[in-house]
């Protein structure tokens, strides 16, 4: 199947209707988690869900749009981190494509890979736009690392690398749990159902 045909199949009508639902799941879950004052974000569960069910490009679109809409309705500063959200969708989708979403321990591996990619993307944006100091909690860790003699990019990367994995692992497991909770009949309505069942 050519790339164009694959893309068309990935963006089936079911996918198109899933994406807004997934984005709103991102937003609402993120808010509930914040309201419960838990030390994670969990604002990409929907993105990963779409990535697994409809492929990496659909995941990328979901992450991008999710971030853009979030910055339109809540926090304009979030827009600068759109590439991070996009990469989460892309990498999760690629991992799923290569079978990393079939068993729970493989899902954890996906979580780690996704967090790595997110950390790299975050580091670049952080350094480019903020000189590495963004006034979030990660920055304090960055500062500590810089003062201890590490280079700036490495420090930012290392700082994000401490926080991200836990969040992304839980995110991927949550998405996996949701898919497991869906009937086989329903999962097979989506273009990349083969990502979850052999």
């Amino acid at each position: 199947m050519s790339f164009g045909e694959r893309l068309k199949r990935d963006f089936s009508t079911m996918t198109l209707v899933l994406i807004p639902v997934a984005i709103v799941i991102n937003i609402v879950v993120g808010q509930i988690v914040a309201a419960l004052k838990l030390p994670v974000f969990l604002d990409s569960i929907g993105t990963v869900l779409v990535a697994v069910l409809a492929g990496p490009w659909a995941g990328l679109v979901t992450g991008t749009l999710s971030n853009v809409i979030w910055s339109m309705v809540a926090n304009p500063d979030a827009i600068y981190w759109t590439p991070v959200a996009a990469i989460i969708g892309l990498i999760a989708g690629l991992c799923a494509k290569y079978g990393l979403f079939r068993e729970w321990w493989k899902v954890i591996v996906t979580g780690v890979l996704v967090s790595l990619a997110a950390a790299v993307a975050s580091a670049f944006i952080s350094v480019w736009l903020y000189g590495g100091i963004t006034a979030s909690g990660i920055s304090f860790v960055t500062i500590y690392l810089v003062e201890s003699g590490r280079g700036l990019i490495e420090s930012v990367f290392a700082a994000s690398f401490i926080v991200e994995p836990i969040d992304k692992i839980i995110t991927c497991l949550a998405a996996w749990g949701i898919i497991k909770g869906m009937s086989l009949r329903y999962v097979s309505r989506f273009p990349r159902a083969e990502n979850v069942s052999a």
């Binding site: 639902v21 709103v24 339109m72 809540a74 000189g131 100091i133």
Partner: protein, 261 residues
Amino acid sequence: MNETIGLYIDRDSPLHRLNPLTKVVFTICIVILGFISPWAWITFAIPVLILIPMSFWGQIGVPYLRALLKIVVPLALILLVMQSLFLPGETTWFRFWFLSVEYESVERSLTLVSRLVSMTASFILFLFSTHPSRLMTDLTRRGVSPIVTYLFISTIQLIPLMRTKANTIMDAQRARGLETEGNIVTRSKALMPMLAPLVFGSLVDVEERAIAIEARAFRVPGKRTHLTIVPDSQAQHLFRIALIVLTVVLIGVRLWLSLTS
């Protein structure tokens, strides 16, 4: 329009009446100018001399100033302080306990912060004065895929619906005795009973909603027509071209300056 969509503020002002594409081009050019400007004070001048007066022209001056003070200014100040202290630099300006501020770090911070301020301020002005529906209607007429419009607008309209559902579920679960305060374990346990009904409830509807838009010929190929035409003018068209040309020229000037210095 019945409800506030995110940050949009409804007014009948010249700024609001501008064609959305004009505002898009304007915002993008301002962002680019912020990046290529060689001095931070020019970039800082953009919101002060251009954007704030425009907000008053758009009858949203007061809410705009309030938003800047709430969203932009505090972050800018924090960043200035943090970055001046911790960004690397050579020439020490003054020492403070174990911390030091260098001229270079202050300069770098001013550059970075001015960019962020200018970008965020222009983005906020755009959001305040452009209704997403008008934006998407215009872009679709100009050739942007209706799929983009669908994804964008249906998400925006879905958010308040889900929020209501989420609140209902939260209240219902609390009424059933779910503990949402306490230590982290208690709070974590509260997550699943709150999320599961919400998530599965919305996923179930996906199939029917897909059938519904298919039945309304959403995926039928061919030329589409448009009920609403967002007005545009020759003047705005020329203005957009002028802005783009100006921006390209300034990019060229900046490149030439940095190459010859």
